[in-house]
């Protein structure tokens, strides 16, 4: 059985949904963070792919596209030691309590 991200040839008879959704501001900023970090040499596409592909299957299936990108960004930043989990969890709580 291929891994969850490896979709080529999976049984699927769904029609292709051609409707577009407008990106939210946070999705645009996640996309931009990836690009900015790439330009600074802190993120490469193959690293990004490995991070996304390391998501557990349930998370992968449940997440929207930029939710996966967010999860992958977190994995990369933690692995590279750019930020620590403690810092991130702390900032997350701080922002969640504020909003």
């Amino acid at each position: 059985m291929p891994q969850v991200h490896d979709r080529g040839g999976w049984p699927n008879e769904d029609p292709i949904d051609q409707e577009e959704h407008n990106l939210s501001d946070w999705e645009r900023r996640v996309d931009a963070m990836h690009n900015v970090l790439s330009e600074k040499g802190l993120r490469r596409t193959d690293e990004m792919r490995r991070a996304i592909e390391s998501l557990d299957p349930a998370t992968y299936e449940a997440c929207s596209y930029y939710e996966r990108w967010t999860a992958a960004l977190e994995i990369m930043l933690l692995e590279k030691g750019v930020i620590t989990r403690e810092e991130l969890d702390g900032k997350f709580e701080e922002i969640r309590n504020r909003v």
Binding site: H5, D6, R7, G8, G9, W10, P11, N12, D14, P15, I16, D17, Q18, E19, E20, H21, L23, D25, W26, E27, R29, V30, D31, A32, M33, N35, V36, L37, E39, K40, T45, D46, R49, I52, L55, D56, A58, T59, A62, C63, S64, Y65, Y66, E67, T70, A71, L73, E74, I75, L77, E79, V82, I83, R85, L88, K91, E94, I95, R96, V99
Partner: protein, 223 residues
């Protein structure tokens, strides 16, 4: 390694398009907050500034299939340019003033003919020639497209309204992190007299992915 929590708010879909921006914080889900926390830390640590991130948002927004269409129109109009585009895309793009960001993966341009039709997919994720087409459409990233394009390309293409004859070979190209594809669609019949600018009007995003052909001159009222 997995992320710490699975909050279960994942959904494909339809965000609050009437309410873009951060003004509606109460609507922000787990990942939106997580992203905001990462951005705040990156800024605090001096790794990047909010202006850099906004500047990148603006740069990405500025890219659109119009860029790819301009390239295709030039290739239709200028055989020498077309030959260069197919053999050395970067050199050809440089002639049009496009310099791809250094982080851009290698680009390959493939030509559709009356005998051979290319279809581009990324079965693993969403690799796409963003430098020339902007962000990929949602359907390109969908599980249905990623699953089906490689086993039923003709069926997928017909869903987009193009029925390829049995005499046309279909070649599916699976993009990778290191190699992206741009389809050079067939030049439509009846477009001989059109200017390059008019030709570009015929080139759609979908025709450069290979799910359709370029529009006919009649379709844009130029026939």
């Amino acid at each position: 390694m997995t992320i710490p929590e699975t909050p279960g708010n994942g959904h494909d879909g339809h965000d609050h398009e009437d309410h873009p921006g951060m003004a509606h914080d109460e609507e922000m889900g787990y990942y939106a907050l997580r992203a905001r926390a990462m951005e705040a830390l990156l800024v605090e640590k001096g790794i990047c500034s909010p202006d850099e991130i906004q500047g990148m948002v603006d740069r990405v927004e500025a890219r659109s299939p119009a860029d790819g269409a301009r390239v295709v129109a030039r290739a239709w109009a200028d055989p020498e340019f077309k030959a260069l585009l197919l053999s050395d895309p970067e050199a050809a793009l440089a002639q049009l003033g496009y310099s791809l960001p250094v982080t851009t993966p290698k680009l390959d341009v493939v030509e559709n003919t009356d005998k051979l039709h290319h279809l581009v997919v990324c079965t693993l994720c969403s690799c796409y020639p963003r430098a020339l087409l902007g962000r990929p459409p949602d359907w390109y990233k969908s599980l249905a497209y990623r699953s089906r394009a490689v086993v039923d390309p003709r069926g997928v293409i017909s869903e987009f309204g193009l029925d390829l004859g049995d005499d046309v070979e279909v070649l599916v190209l699976d993009s990778t992190a290191d190699l992206r594809y741009l389809v050079l669609p067939r030049r439509p019949e009846g477009s001989q007299e059109m200017t390059e600018e008019q030709l570009a009007e015929l080139v759609t995003r979908d025709s450069m992915i290979g799910v359709t052909n370029a529009r006919s001159p009649q379709a844009v009222g130029a026939g």
